[in-house]
Amino acid sequence: MKEKIVSYIKNKLVTESIETINIHEDLLGSGLVDSIGMVQLVLFIETEAGIKVSPEEMTIENFMTINHMLRFIASKQNTDTKQI
């Protein structure tokens, strides 16, 4: 999952050309990804991880860095499995 997100951001979303993205890098504040990019990223994560991101979950705590996203995805997949 981590590699998929990193490569999607690097190849499709970044607003400036960069060599690497650190999973702790602030994607929201740095301007590395713009707001349309964030919407695309959320759609990408929904498809790839098989989860549903509700509007209330569109928070800085869940999407600031790739690390935050991975934690969020894991917790979603966990609760979703429990519900089934």
Partner: protein, 525 residues
Amino acid sequence: MKSTYILPQLLESVANASPQSEAFRYLEETISYSDLHRKTEQLASYLISLGINKGDRIGIYMNRCLETCIAVYGILKAGAAYVPLDPFTPINRTHAIINDCGITCLVTTPTKRRKIDNLLNEQNSIKTIIGDTIRNTTESISWETIFSVSTDNFEAPNILEQDLAFILYTSGSTGVPKGIMHTHYSALSLAKIAADTYGFTSDDIFGNPAPLHFDPSTFGYFVAPLVGATTVIIPDAHLKMPASLSALIAKEKITVWYSVPLMLIQLLNSGTLSKNDFSSLRWVLFAGEVFITKHLRALMNQWPHAKFSNLYGPAELILCTYYHLPEPPKTDDPIPIGNVWSNTEFKILDENNNDVNPNEPGQLAVRSATMMQGYWNNKLLTERSFHKVTIAEGYDHTYYKTGDLVKLNPKGELLFLGRNDRQIKLRGYRVELDEIELTLLRYKDVEEVAVLVLGKEEEVQELAAVVRPAKDACINLTYLMEFCKVELPSYAVPKTIEFMDDFPRTSSGKISRKEIGKLLEENQI
């Protein structure tokens, strides 16, 4: 009481009257009026020691952060004009602006180091970087050093209200950025008129989501200091995460919110409005594009205690009209832009710059205290954008031609009909692109729409619509096309309708029809 003529006096008077009042806040960081007064004097002293003269242009290259207010007022106190540079804009464009107005000094923060390095790699006029120490040979100085500068010998330059205060660059329709020049007088006029119109007080807390290069930032940076209020600078991250923005507005107890409609619609759709406490919110102001009436109604029903007002004005005037909504709109008709505010008058002109007959549509031209001085380094464009009415030999009234089509409704309120250039001729028919958009918006689950003309030659031109459906909604293309055929004259029915999850936007959040057009022509949608 002493009269106020120039912007730095705003800080001085609050700093003297109530020094500990909070001037600006950014998350956990905060600055009082007296601290801001002192720190801006330190920056001004340093700038003057560099040899910066009255009227020189100094760039501000920053994300939204607390240092922006120090940069703005420090530059103004030195007698210079500030030029905000959008840090998210491509480097070539930033270069074009730096060269156009001859910026020799940039004020920034360490977070922009990577981009500053890139900027300095290119040939340009920059000699000094303030706000970060860099490895390059260019002279640079950190904020810490600025804040240790002695102001004992500071002599405030003699600034007049007619002196240049800032230049806002916007993308011209030809693609060359236009530098809109505002003076201390036009900016201070804006602050005074806005404060009178809305009755702002020192108890107010302004939410400022606008970046400095976008003219609504004048509210947070000048209107709030005029009344001695506090401005909360909204971080970039919150603007991308509506649920977090919603929580922040509640937590900061913001009383005056001013943004483009898009941000308010995103808040509405975030599903968090009922979970947070917005009881402090007193005024919700919006401008910059049309607020789709059905969304506005939904928001007003969510926040019944707040007053809503539609503001209008191109950056050349900052603002010029307002319309207070007495209640949530009952129909989906677009709301008026209302009446011109104080110290302002208008005309509605036909194609030959004559006044139109009553109730006929025409181009809005405005004469106001908030009007720009002109476009930097572009006399021709300045002359073309002004409409002069000779009152007597040697005495003219100068109006700014907005390029926007308006007409008066029976109540004498101005209705915004669209951009002048959004009215096109298609196979001999006059087509209003904005009217087609408004029609499509009435269709269920159509969240936003852009209608454009494709093709350069008139014979092969055709209309294309791109629709953003509501989240998780599925719109049947055949039904939508049928709807268009019923609601629109045949020549105005789009030949194609495409769907997009989200639209490309300008840095101020407006739909970028230019980008959408490009994507359509390249078959990328």
